[in-house]
Symmetry: D2
Subunit: 250 residues, 4 copies
């Protein structure tokens, strides 16, 4: 009798955390990668498939219900995913930052973008993912997991980051509510406070923490952490972690 | 030389907290009351004007930019408000509750309503109010104040309150960010965690805290608290309080 | 029939917060002032009595059980206090600061002093005060109140303040536990996070917040706040507030 | 050229978490186990040594400076530890619980015991461990780590757990302060909020979470978590985690 197979879905992939998380989870599962633009996932999909793994990319606007629902439908029709169970769903969308701006110089669109890509996107993603995660509870090798990427602004509303803080606080509140509802049903929901500048191509020139070695957070470290959270036994679920370089002020 | 006069604006009035807050601030200031429907403010406006105070009601949808901007324009054209300074702006809108519901039975509209009336409404309200509050810094009798009503769900994402928690967390994050930006400019921004069932007509039949006397939070107690926060000297601003009946579990 | 009279006890008086709190509460109640050295309370006692109020000072080491018990026994034997009820007990002891020091340069005595004057002192003070506060529940004009002075370090363990943070965290945890136990019995327990340099003779020369006017927290503002907390109706108790000057970074 | 070897120290071992943590770390390091009574560590030491690992037990009262200092001196004289570097120091002492008791029925000794075994014990342990951990920074295979076991009461002062909350809050504040001071020097300091009844011989009969399978926290899950924290790269340190069974209310 064949063992049931399982896959992972990662929303929000690009050159940074999403890529590292995809590569990490692809060592064990086929991975479906969602991003708004094909150029965000194409190289990663190729990298994984070339290395003998299994990946598919689906162009998705996580802020639109139909787009998210369609993505999950597509995944379940894709060879290598069809008939398999969802083991891990990772919401790593980072839109809506808007930059550091005095409140009176921000536009309503900045706030709306933050709310759309943070709580609204997570809501839509979770709405599609949780029924599948629940179905995997009886036989998934690790407790089915919903992972959510947060930021410094998830617990601290700093000056000049009004819209960003609104979105990140909201996403954290939603993740916490989901944890309290779905943990007892066997689905692990964890929120990671990424309190750092991440070491990705875009931040290459940033002078962070005085240029100290390892002064930016390695995306591979985040990926390791997410994998670790995914593999926690149900006897001991962590709902929230913080993660920052040793030299980061907090 | 005439002393400059000042007024207060309260968004979200009805039979409960908003009414008590309006009556309290009306003892000192003309008050402008914003609500989506005239029947929410008409009686309060009449009650205040009959008692020799000054009140005006303006039908406003706080979730729509044009409606909020129009409300503030209207206020500044109204007799008794024109030429006066804004001393206190209170965001007490309570929409988007949605009730206690398993996440998978909620609708996207529930979340959207919570985000609209919590962070988005506060954003729009603050966008119009803060420039006026800043102008009042030099001569307002009390530090110009932006007060925001929160709830238990502002700091705790409970099971079955997913959308509500998202909205309340977001509003708190936004208020915190505004406090950090505007306190140094002399505008006091405070957030009140109302951790209780409020004693209003709608909750009359609720069996709360075993029916203990004073087991529901009196809206007058909230109003007293808001007035107190408004009158704090700039040497000592409180950014956040909790408020609950003595018998409330927390 | 004579109305029962009530008094207040304040532990930790000196030139700063304690003095302002004593003067504030002395406007309504006879006040008993506890300090380790007579020179800390003598002038305040004289000031209050000269102004027609009623004050008594008792030399007390709040870190020693016998000394605290003796203080409360003394109070209840003192003319003007005997037969009266305890309306408010304020724990404002500020010992154990120890200064900013690298952990490895601190002495065990620094930690012990912080633990002694923070959780241990509050424990002993509460042990004597709470039975008296409970007795006052039925007829006290305001809900009997236990107020506890905290600091920035109550919720944030900063580098180089190890012992101070340990003591302040502990005091907050204890106050929170007492609130949850005694609120339902009608005694209000509140904790104030004083996130500021207080404007007292000792800090006169400090350059705080760039020398901004009102950049230090006025002890009278703290006293006003404590009185306000004391007068909250049991329908709406605040368990915790923060308090800081408008220009304070947080 | 010989590679330098490293060891771990665990304070607070017995039949539960300490034993699991000792066994876990013993797979990689020689381990020194500190407990007040030899019967707490003897079996574990034998178990590890019989299995080909290296363990030593030292009778230590962590609340006494001389006893802790002596323990570290002893370790460094012990064959297999002498000349080696300290890679991990784990403070898992669980004394001072005192049980669930109305505050007025507690004894000062309950509070003192909690303060002694929580902040004071951690202080003494850290005082001896941190200089050794600092020395290991340049060549330890994993960032030298100080791990601290917390509890539900570390962030929540519940009714009837006054002394316990005081001790746990204090320990958390101290750990946080140490993290902020020593992270930039390369030593990882993490605090684990164990929000659960642990599944150990003593709790065998407890009816926890309705008797649900895995409804108690497995001590092996805690050990896995501690090992994971120890192996985090300095690019991404976690300062605090929570850990609870899937069915635990929080």
């Amino acid at each position: 009798m064949a063992t049931k197979s399982f896959y992972a879905v990662i929303a929000g992939v690009g050159a940074g955390t999403g890529r590292s998380v995809a590569l990490k989870f692809a060592k064990t599962y086929p991975v479906a990668l969602l991003a708004r633009k094909p150029e965000s996932y194409q190289d990663i999909v190729k990298e994984i498939n070339d290395a003998g793994g299994k990946a598919v990319g689906i162009t998705t606007d996580v802020t639109e219900q139909a787009s998210v629902e369609n993505a999950f439908t597509e995944i379940q029709k894709t060879d290598g995913f069809a008939g398999a169970g969802l083991a891990a769903a990772i919401y790593n969308v980072s839109g809506g930052f808007g930059g550091r701006k005095p409140f009176l110089e921000t536009a309503l669109e900045d706030l709306d973008a933050s709310l759309a890509s943070n709580p609204r996107g997570l809501y839509l993603f979770a709405k599609s993912a949780l029924p599948l995660l629940l179905k995997s509870v009886p036989d998934s090798p690790n407790p089915p997991t919903l992972l959510v990427t947060g930021a410094t602004a998830s617990t601290r509303g700093s000056a000049f980051f009004s819209g960003f803080a609104a979105g990140k606080f909201a996403k954290r509140g939603l993740a916490q509510s989901l944890a309290r509802e779905f943990h007892p049903q066997g689905v692990h929901v964890a929120h990671a406070i990424i309190d750092a500048v991440i070491d990705i191509p875009r931040t290459k020139g940033y002078n962070v923490n005085g240029g100290a070695p390892d002064g930016k957070l390695s995306p591979d470290a985040i990926a390791d952490e997410y994998w670790h959270l995914h593999t926690q036994h149900r006897s001991g679920f962590t709902q929230e972690i913080d993660l920052r370089p040793y030299v980061e002020k907090f």
